[in-house]
Amino acid sequence: MIKIVNLIESWVVSFVLELGGFVTMLKDGVFALTKTPVRWKLIFKQLEFIGVNSSLIIILTGYFTGAVLALQAGKAFRLFNAEGATGSLVVISLLRELSPVLTSLMLAARCGSAMAAEIGTMRVTQQIDALQVMSVDPVSYLITPRIVASFIMAPLLSIVFSVVGTFGGFSVAVGVLNVNNAIYWDKIQQYVDMEDLWNGLAKALVFGLIIAVVGCRKGYTTSGGAEGVGRATTQAVVIASVSILVADYFLTAFMF
């Protein structure tokens, strides 16, 4: 019994310490923006890596998510002759839930892992020590650009996901299920609010922060050579993905 209590205690302590580490990293990363110089070149490089280079995977995921939503919803709605509502269901689901969550999960897998691996490798090969020795703040050099870029790009990619998903849904609803073209768009206009868009974007902003902070923190605290880098990369993806899903529940409960 004492063993179990001790085990739970150590889990709770390590959870709180880890959480504290993430919050500190976020605070330091944002605070570094107030110091000059802001490293625009590095921020643009990360915007390109996280945003531009992730576009294709987001477009593909978005299209097929919208398509499968339309296929499932359209067939279900047909049972009571309401397939015209397919468009509104697709778009509301995308805006509120699927775009921010799936975009962020894709980014966690693609970019969060890369952040942890890159910074982790720099840590174990003493490149971060070298930055410090050269009086360069590693947080403003490595962490801040990634946090800023992820914060900006997660919502933008979420919009891309929604737009492409809407057309994916349209192509299946109109092309496969023979829903009337005008009705598809009309129902979207009728049932979708701007609030759906804003709330989805707010979620994506939070998820963007989670991806960058978890990826950077895991990389920054890497130890133990190549094995340590592998462990940090895996942990970055797992922790960011689970955190996104947990945060999604609480944000949804708060917003809608």
Partner: protein
């Protein structure tokens, strides 16, 4: 200039430094020797302020490194250059970008001026024309030489070397030794602190040698003093090498 006083550091239950004291004379090459795992690299990280000790002080011109604000410490670090054990070159940057990095970060020099200094540094380390190569394309010895060029780009007063000849063949080791001495002269009598367990190299270049054992400095002196030391710990460390290389 640099004084280490009663430095103590533990990692968990493992006490690495146990009250280490040492004076580093200005304008000289001090080599700190000792076996693997005796805390040499930990000591070097303390000297440059990457690690804080549990107890003790490192005084730079009489001022404690650990009582400085982070901004002051950053400024003081500009007086240091460091060659890491595996050079720690930025692997996403070319040789040119690596050497230019401290210049771009800390000076407002024009690109032409930075290029001129980088080329000059590459000539000094006898590797001209490798500006566009990446660290992964270089041999271990070349990486160390580029690391040295980067460490000295801003002409620091104090240069730290973490095992500069470890893992290199005797010819390349000798070349690195020559470069260390040359750097010492080029930088107008900079202070050099070298961590090493390479005895032949130490005897070649050191002005002062300090033997680190079990977290403490057990012997300090000129290479000649160390060579003829009666201290059993020093003898145990030196004798096998001396027998092998035949130093009298």
């Amino acid at each position: 200039m640099l004084e280490i006083r009663n430095l103590k550091k533990s990692f968990g239950d493992h006490e690495v430094l146990k009250g280490l004291s040492l004076n580093i004379p200005s304008g000289k090459i001090t080599v700190i020797i000792g076996g693997s795992g005796t805390g040499k690299s930990v000591l070097l990280k303390h000297i440059i302020g990457l690690i804080e000790p549990d107890e003790g002080q490192i005084l730079l011109d009489g001022e404690s490194l650990y009582e400085m604000t982070s901004e002051t410490l950053k400024k003081q670090r500009m007086r240091f250059g460091m060659l890491f054990q595996d050079a720690a070159l930025f692997d996403s940057m070319t040789v040119y970008e690596n050497i230019a990095f401290p210049l771009i970060e800390h000076t407002d020099w024009s690109e032409a001026e930075v290029t001129r200094v980088v080329k000059h540094k590459l000539e000094q380390i006898r590797l001209p024309g490798i500006e566009e190569k990446f660290p992964s394309e270089l041999s271990g010895g070349m990486r160390k030489r580029v690391g040295l060029a980067r460490a000295t780009a801003l002409e620091p007063e104090i240069v730290l070397y973490d095992e500069p000849t470890t893992g290199l063949d005797p010819v390349t080791s000798k070349a690195i030794d020559d470069l260390i001495v040359q750097t010492q002269n080029n930088l107008k009598n900079a202070t050099s602190i070298i961590i090493s367990h390479d005895i032949p190299s130490t005897l070649r270049i050191a002005n002062q040698v300090a033997m680190l054992h079990d977290g403490r400095i057990v012997e300090v002196g000129s290479p000649k003093d160390i060579l003829h030391s009666k201290n059993p710990i020093v003898r145990e460390f030196l004798d096998p090498v001396i027998d092998q290389i035949g130093v009298a």
